[in-house]
């Protein structure tokens, strides 16, 4: 049986602890049964791979593991601090207690080399992994930003910036996709409105998506969806709509709040892995 996975599941498939990954594997079965979508790939790039690239930037700029850690702490980049701590834990370096290091020397130099290498590898690996570990990546939106692979620069850093302005060149077909599914989208908007008016709250993300879709439909200004920020505002809808268009019933996610509303409205069955 084919299942559709959203971005949260793709992230968990790589970063959850061993037990949880095993449970997910059991739930999803072989990768031949799993389908994802291109908009999820864009989110995966924005959230996961970009964070790796920024951590790598710290290491390259500081030329020091502890310098990068210090910078991440100073900037309160919790995710990057955690990543560096994980690498430290992985390498098994003995850093118990209080100790002093010379920036870029000895143990610090070795840790820097290791960290840079692990992260550089992970950036490119994850980009390929996203597509390799699913049957297919459906792509009704033909999102061009989701096709832009990480690019290594001369400085050794990776360029993972999203070229937002290029969206205005209208190379994707997200507006067409919405138009093709217009009856379904209108129905979705009506039902979201009904939910709101009946006092049952919908999440702020869905409120934003609803407002964006309403504005676009009302003015017949579908071209507005070619704007990157407008497109992102509809993010959850794109992913659920891709699943519906692929005629896959099972939508696997841990994004409970949005999916428990969107799935029934689009005729999908929300499947959630057991909570950790």
């Amino acid at each position: 049986m084919t299942t559709f996975v959203d971005t949260t599941i793709q992230v968990e498939r790589v970063f959850a602890d061993a037990k949880r990954r095993a449970r997910l594997q059991t739930l999803l079965g072989a990768e031949e049964n799993v389908v994802a979508c291109s908009f999820s790939r864009l989110e995966f790039k924005r959230v996961v791979i970009q964070n790796l690239a920024l951590t790598l930037d710290y290491l390259i700029d500081e030329k020091s593991f502890w310098g990068a850690m210090n910078r991440a702490c100073r900037l309160r980049s919790d995710r990057r601090v955690k990543m560096l701590v994980r690498i430290l834990s992985w390498t098994g370096e003995q850093v118990e207690g209080r100790f002093q290091v010379q920036k870029g020397e000895g143990i610090d130099r070795k840790l820097t080399l290791q960290s840079e290498s692990y992260i550089r590898n992970a950036i490119e690996y994850l980009w390929h992994w996203f597509d390799a570990q699913v049957l297919t990546v459906v792509d009704k939106t033909e999102c061009q930003r989701a096709r832009e692979a990480p690019r290594k620069t001369r400085t050794g850093k990776w360029d993972l910036a999203i070229h937002e302005r290029k969206c205005a060149t209208q190379k994707c077909r997200n507006a067409l996709f919405i138009r093709e599914r217009l009856p379904q989208i209108r129905k979705l908007c009506r039902e979201l409105e009904t939910l709101e008016s009946s006092g049952r709250s919908i999440t702020s993300e869905l409120q934003i998506a609803l407002a964006t879709l309403q504005a676009v439909i009302k003015a017949s200004a579908f071209y507005k969806l070619y704007d990157y920020k407008q497109c992102l505002a509809v993010g959850d809808v794109w992913i659920h709509l891709e699943c519906a268009a692929a005629e896959i019933e099972d939508f696997v996610t841990t994004n409970y709040k949005e999916s428990e509303t969107l799935c029934p409205l689009l005729g999908l069955k929300m499947v959630t892995p057991e909570k950790p």
């Binding site: 990768e31 701590v85 834990s89 992985w90 080399l113 290791q114 692990y118 690996y125 994850l126 570990q133």
Partner: protein, 193 residues
């Protein structure tokens, strides 16, 4: 190994033992080169090593040791793949793992491509108990990666290709970036200028 090669090797061992240098450990180093040569068919002749040995700088000395360790790691990994006895396989795998870990001490002498290939292999095997954790396809890719490790010049495109192949074969290299089960760290950094 041909007879000529064997004769070269013997001569080199003799030469190596007669070398004098600032360190008493030189002859040990040279003999370890000869051992490494034993396990390779395509390496430069031992007499080349000996000529180089006479003009060793510290960096060359370390690079040579690095080469020895890469070949040892490769051979141990291949041995673990081919072992018929599970305990032999485990012992060889453990030796390959240890050699990979040691290679980080030499990594700064080599280019980024070497470091990344080492990082790729390290992340794939470090927390794996034995070779049976990999399926035949994964083993084959890892064997090729190990075989590329001793090359003096590794191209970035080669490493890039391995990253893709590792992803396609689902060889897990994300261990270093993943939450370790049940481990908590508290790090406080104090900058001293």
């Amino acid at each position: 190994m041909t007879k000529d090669q064997d004769r070269d090797r013997t001569n080199a061992s003799t030469e190596a033992n007669t070398l004098e240098g600032p360190r008493g450990s030189w002859s040990d180093t040279i003999s370890s080169v000869v051992i490494a040569y034993d396990s390779l068919d395509s390496e430069p002749s031992v007499s080349t090593f000996s000529r180089r040995a006479e003009t060793f700088s510290d960096v060359e000395h370390l690079k040579l040791n690095c080469g020895v360790r890469t070949r040892y790691a490769r051979d141990m990994f291949i041995q673990s793949c081919e072992a018929t006895d599970p305990e032999d396989a485990e012992a060889s795998f453990s030796a390959a793992n240890g050699a990979v870990d040691e290679l980080w001490d030499f990594a700064q002498l080599r280019g980024v491509a070497f470091q990344d290939l080492l990082g790729l292999i390290d992340a794939a095997i470090r927390r794996v108990d034995d070779i049976s954790s990999f399926n035949p396809n994964q083993r084959d890719i890892l064997r090729q990666a190990f075989a590329d490790l001793p090359r003096p010049f590794i191209e970035e495109a080669t490493v890039s290709n391995y990253r893709k192949r590792f992803a396609e074969a689902n060889i897990d290299i994300l261990g270093p970036l993943r939450v370790a089960d049940g481990v908590q760290y508290k790090v406080t950094i104090e900058e001293i200028r």
